[in-house]
């Protein structure tokens, strides 16, 4: 569907509508004017007829005007005893020698009686002005139309621009609006009632949404919090139980299974709490974090795991990557990405890391691209690993979303590339 601006949209209809209105009006006006013109001409012709007939009574010489000359009438004698003395007026064309051309004329034809003789009297008057009139009228109308359209375009432009200014302001503010950003929607109180209503409605809607959103966030956080203590009690009781010397191996294994399940629950809960805290902006303090240093520390943490899984890690250091952010979150960010690469790498696989100013990239081998719509979804799992919480990459994305200066990207280039790039704020 082709979309137009409000201005063009209204203009298109206005131009067509004005054309139609002017057309109809022109036709009507033309008819009225022509009617009036003919009425005038006819009155003139009738007046001439009257004068010629009465003149003929006193000066019979006139009766001999057999041709249209300078007199604009001719009189033809009619044989016969009786004729109807009727009058008709019609349009015709006449060759006039003075103009050496045919010209449109209006002719009055009548029969009159002078003495005993009947005569036909034909009077003409040139109607060439009528065509001129029509032409002038059309030109005038076209000029009017153009003038109207131009002024409407201009008015439309200025009035709409002025009238819709608050609307675009509101639109602008809405574009920059983020749910949960706690930034208030500042009213500009436009003088136009509709826009004022719009602002009011928007403000009310946002407030409602904010309340629901924060309640929901609060709920997740509270729920996760409240779960901690019962989880602790259950897990700790199992630990105490496991120390019982009288347990058989089978019983111990059963308890361990319950313990593992509980452990998984603890981890999911903890991850949810972390996401919830990130989104509630509870990691306020920021400092300049050098990812190179952080990565070196974390690689050391993972060294024995990497060695155990026989994964090869290559590090290409092309400069320092520094970001102003919270230290704990930076650690979580890098370690989750690193962990993701290590976990999804089989024995002997290669993990490539490269750092450059403005870019931090971790790549692990893989055969086919991941579904970008799903990888950052909460609880989405690649399938193979039932022990993963499915929250690791969600946390990574939550962290990147929290900061305007970094951006998380995934592509598939003969492997899964997760890249954090510096994002220049616009």
């Amino acid at each position: 569907m082709q979309r137009r601006s409000l201005k063009n949209y209204t203009l298109r209809y206005l131009v067509v509508a004005i054309l139609a209105i002017i057309g109809v009006w022109a036709a009507a006006f033309y008819l009225v004017v022509i009617e009036e013109v003919y009425d005038n001409i006819d009155d003139g012709l009738k007046d001439s007829r009257h004068r010629i007939i009465s003149e003929a009574g006193s000066d019979p010489e006139i009766l001999n005007t057999g041709e249209f000359g300078i007199t604009q009438f001719k009189i033809t004698g009619l044989p016969g005893a009786h004729h109807d003395t009727k009058t008709q007026i019609y349009n015709s064309e006449l060759y006039l020698p003075q103009q050496d051309d045919k010209t449109s004329v209006r002719i009055l034809e009548t029969i009159f009686k002078n003495g005993r003789q009947y005569y036909r009297l034909e009077i003409y008057t040139s109607t060439v002005e009528e065509d001129d009139l029509l032409e002038d009228l059309l030109i005038a109308l076209a000029a009017l139309y153009v003038a109207l359209v131009v002024s409407i375009v201009m008015l439309n432009h200025f009035i709409l621009r002025k009238a819709w200014k608050p609307f675009y302001k509101i639109l602008d503010k809405l574009g920059g609006y983020r749910l949960g950003s706690s930034r208030k929607f500042d009213r500009s109180d436009p003088r136009i009632i509709e826009f004022n209503n719009l602002e009011e409605a928007l403000e009310a809607m946002m407030e409602r949404n904010e309340t629901i959103y924060s309640r929901q966030k609060q709920f997740i956080e509270n729920a996760s919090h409240e779960l901690q203590t019962p989880l602790a009690i259950a897990a700790n009781k199992l630990e105490l139980l496991m120390e019982n010397e009288q347990l058989t191996e089978d019983q111990l294994h059963k308890i361990e299974e319950v313990n593992n399940t509980l452990h998984r629950l603890k981890r999911i809960n903890k991850s949810l709490l972390t996401i919830s805290k990130i989104e509630n902006k509870q990691f306020q303090t920021t400092e300049t974090i050098c990812f190179n240093v952080l990565l070196t520390q974390l690689l050391e943490e993972y060294a024995s795991l990497v060695q155990f899984k026989e994964i090869r890690i290559t590090l290409e250091d092309r400069g320092t990557f520094e970001v102003n952010m919270n230290r704990d979150l930076a650690t979580v960010l890098v370690s989750n990405l690193l962990k993701n690469a290590i976990v999804h790498s089989g024995k002997g696989r290669l993990v490539e890391i490269s750092i450059a100013p403005g870019s931090f990239l971790i790549k692990n081998e893989g055969d086919s691209p991941l579904n970008t719509a799903l990888i950052f979804e909460r609880f989405h799992k690649g399938g193979q690993n039932e022990h993963s919480t499915g929250l690791g990459l969600s946390i990574v994305q939550s962290i990147c979303n929290l900061y305007d200066n970094i951006l998380l990207k995934y592509d598939f280039r003969n492997g899964h590339c997760f890249e954090i790039i510096m994002h220049k704020p616009v």
Binding site: T229, A232, E243, S388
Partner: protein
């Protein structure tokens, strides 16, 4: 050794008390702010486990009360709140450690032990178990007075076992204590096994009087 457990959740209070009693601590409990304040003022403990959110008041208030009393007692905050601010303010106010719920009992043991050890300023900070001596300050290990070299993770592992001697420690607890949150998958348990195997080799080679044994594949125990 006397430990005071300030925790309003009676079930958790019970588990902690049982676990610490097993370690030979004399354990007392307090379930609310007033009870806790009463005990803090009246008695002296080697270590106080302090929950932040208590009926009747904040654990942080109790903490400043404890610090005012000038008694030499270690304070470990146990809280469901894992927020950085809480941790920082707790530690700033003089708490010795901060443990987030839920925790493993073995970890609690280790923390209590090291908090008490640090509190004892003039005494011997080294941990002794049979012929193994662990020096947490310098991160060195001696077996029969001979120093053996362990990497960082192996040291942490041994420390965890020495602070929980003769007790079954399950694998997830070990993985969490030594490798923290980094460990999150099934293979981590094989990984723990391989790390313990390495540590065992070193201990046996140095002639340690004791060995880390696998208990039916669910955990490990030093004995």
């Amino acid at each position: 050794m006397k430990v005071l457990v300030i925790e309003d959740e009676s079930e958790l209070q019970g588990v902690i008390r049982d676990a610490l009693s097993k370690e030979g601590y004399l354990t007392e409990t307090a379930g609310n702010f007033d009870q806790a304040l009463d005990k803090i003022i009246s008695y002296e403990y080697d270590c106080i486990l302090l929950d932040i959110m208590l009926p009747g008041g904040s654990g942080l208030e109790l903490l400043s009360e404890i610090k005012k009393s000038n008694k030499k007692q270690a304070v470990i905050i146990i809280s469901a709140k894992d927020s950085v601010e809480d941790k920082v303010s707790g530690l700033d106010m003089g708490a010795d450690d901060y443990l987030t719920k839920p925790f493993h009992l073995a970890e609690l043991n280790a923390r209590v032990k090291s908090a008490i050890r640090r509190q004892n300023q003039h005494g011997d900070h080294k941990l002794h178990w049979r012929n193994i001596i662990l020096d947490p300050d310098n991160r060195t290990v001696f077996i029969n007075q001979e120093e053996i070299s362990l990497n960082r993770k192996e040291f942490d592992l041994l420390y965890y076992f020495i602070t929980n001697p003769e007790r079954l420690i399950n694998k997830t607890s070990i993985a969490e204590y030594v490798w923290g949150d980094y460990m999150e998958q099934a293979s981590s348990l094989d990984f723990v096994y391989s790390q313990i195997k390495n540590l065992r080799k070193k201990l046996t080679a140095a002639g340690a009087d004791g060995d880390i044994q696998s208990v039916y594949g669910v955990g490990y125990k030093i004995s």
